[in-house]
């Protein structure tokens, strides 16, 4: 009797193990499928960029003839380098100013209590429901009077990206909220002013969120098309890569620029992906922390 239950248990145990193995197998299959689907476009874009037999879409995955012609053309015949530099400068500038704005706003809202705090948060909540692009009509008009559009667009765009960036305080406020309040209190009893609490106690603890904010600022100009295309207004000298390369896929230019677009895409992606993957940890912390904290 004891023996049979023993066996039963054993069989059941093995069953659990086998079913786990099966479910793991299914999961691996799905994950591999996901990997293929997710990486396929990137693989495709790289392949496309090495095609020298055609400059248009030919519906083939692999090049019939391999070569670097697209890259050479990219650097020699187009303003791509100019665009790239524009975007990189914008990225760095945005990272610097936006980080300051966002941290100042989120730190204040999270750790300081003052009259009008709730009102300010409600105001920003309401403002956030207007499509941000709506502001561009006036901003464009004013900027074009001030000469901050066209070839000067990068300057104008940095202002646009940064000026209102305080409204994107949610993620970092969520982070600051997790640091215990007693740290501030202890420091203040120890003789620190609020400013000293800020830079001697809280900032040293906020490395990850600072890096996250910098990363977000740096990435913004690379991905933005809407604001950029509006401010740049088809002036090649002031273009960012997004606006410049978008032209190449217009119906008139598509057939002569498609493979070059892909080459440019590869060139753009490499530095951004490198920075991103290197700082992935902080990005993940930001995304998860921010979402949980709302």
């Amino acid at each position: 009797m004891a023996n049979t239950t023993d066996n039963k248990l054993k069989r059941k145990g093995m069953g659990a193990k086998a079913s786990r193995r099966l479910s793991n197998f299914v999961i691996y299959v799905i994950l591999i499928l996901i990997t293929v689907i997710w990486l396929f476009p990137f693989f495709g874009i790289v392949m496309e960029s090495f095609k020298i037999d055609t400059q248009a879409m030919d519906g083939e995955l692999f090049p019939k003839q391999w070569g670097f012609d697209n890259y050479i053309r990219l650097f020699k015949e187009t303003d791509f380098i100019k665009w790239f530099i524009n975007t990189a400068i914008m990225g760095v500038a945005t990272a610097v100013f936006q980080t300051f704005f966002v941290l100042a706003m989120s730190y204040t809202l999270s750790r300081l209590r003052f009259k009008g705090r709730k009102a300010l948060m409600n105001l920003m909540l309401i403002l956030g429901m207007f499509p941000g692009f709506l502001t561009m009509i006036l901003i464009y008009k004013v900027f074009s009077d001030l000469g901050l559009t066209m070839q000067m667009a990068p300057v104008g765009l940095v202002i646009v990206y940064c000026a209102s960036s305080g409204m994107g305080y949610y993620v970092s406020k969520g982070f600051f909220d997790t640091i215990p309040k007693t740290l501030d209190e202890a420091a203040r009893v120890d003789g620190a002013t609020r400013w000293q609490v800020f830079y001697k106690v809280i900032m040293p603890l906020s490395g990850s969120i600072i890096i996250y904010t910098i990363l977000m600022g740096f990435m913004a100009p690379w991905g933005d098309f809407m604001m950029a295309s509006y401010i740049i207004h088809e002036n090649s000298a002031g273009m960012s890569v997004a606006v410049g390369m978008y032209e190449w896929l217009s119906k008139t230019m598509l057939n002569s620029h498609y493979t070059m677009f892909c080459a440019a895409g590869v060139v753009v992606a490499i530095p951004v992906v490198a920075v991103f993957l290197a700082l992935q940890k902080y990005y993940v912390e930001g995304v998860t922390g921010g979402a949980v904290k709302g």
């Binding site: 007693t182 209190e185 203040r188 120890d190 106690v201």
Partner: protein
Amino acid sequence: MASVKLTNVKKIYGKDTVAVQDFNLDIADKEFIVFVGPSGCGKSTTLRMIAGLEDISEGTVEIDGVVVNDLQPRDRDIAMVFQNYALYPHLTVFENMAFSLRLKNAPQDEVYEKVVNAAEVLGITEYLTRKPRALSGGQRQRVAIGRAMVRDSKVFLMDEPLSNLDAKLRNQMRAEIILLRKKIDTTFIYVTHDQTEAMTLGDRIVIMKDGFIQQVGTPTEVFDMPVNLFVAEFIGAPKMNTFKTGLICEDGKYFVTPYGAKIEITGKKAEMLKEKNVQSGEIILGVRPEHFVLADQDNPAAIPCKIVVNEMMGSELHLHVVEENGDKLIVRIPTVSLEDEERKELVYGKTIYVTFESKVMHFFDKETEQNLLV
């Protein structure tokens, strides 16, 4: 080293949530004062108002005769130890303790000397280069105390410093704080919800409830002469037994009649009752568990009750008993007073007879719950 004086201090949150009501207290120089009470009684709020971490809604706080209401915490010359230690995670133990000195731009020699001295007193010299996360709870609390020590401040505030430690460590740290107090001779204000800490540490104890001070006094005073039922039940463990009973005044003699027994009140208590001219009527009688004694069945002062739970604590027995009316009482009997055989008979369901003497009785008004003898 300073006196602290609170006059009519009040704390109101929002529009009408009152946390602290009309708090008046004079704390002498070098006194060790303990605020004690259940959670939400306003003790921490009061402490934080003294520290300057909360605004004072009404009244004044003076340190050394200076009104500090409008001063920032850093200008009040206080040191504070927090319940959750509040150590700066990015700084080493040394830098944590040196933080306040660094803010004052003190010379390195002075910083070194003060920090190392404090560390030696607290026995944490070997951890000076570690970060707080590499320390145990007790060590962290020592660092927090050390950080407050190096400030040489006028007032030393402690907000439930031992609550996050386990029982054994708590006892040990409690003893250390008593020793520490001898070494750093300054004014202490200590907040706790634990009456044992209050009794063992304080020169004087401030017992609070719902934002009101209930009683201020030395440990002996609050133990022997609690002003009301709340204080009586809060101080002492296990808590005081209280029950409704009749008080009879016959021919200048006073009797209480708990549960059918009739006990004459003699000695000092009787004099005091007479002095206060207390009349017959129903009152609440309080007797501490340790003041019950076993009595003979035929003693007219004996109260019969049934044992429900018998807790053997080692040095004493805690007997949870039920009186015939269903009232629950706790009786505490020193083990040494019983023979082994007698002790073994005290089991579930057994009826025992207990009584108590006049000198351990506490009389409270049925309505106001105030001590009738105060």
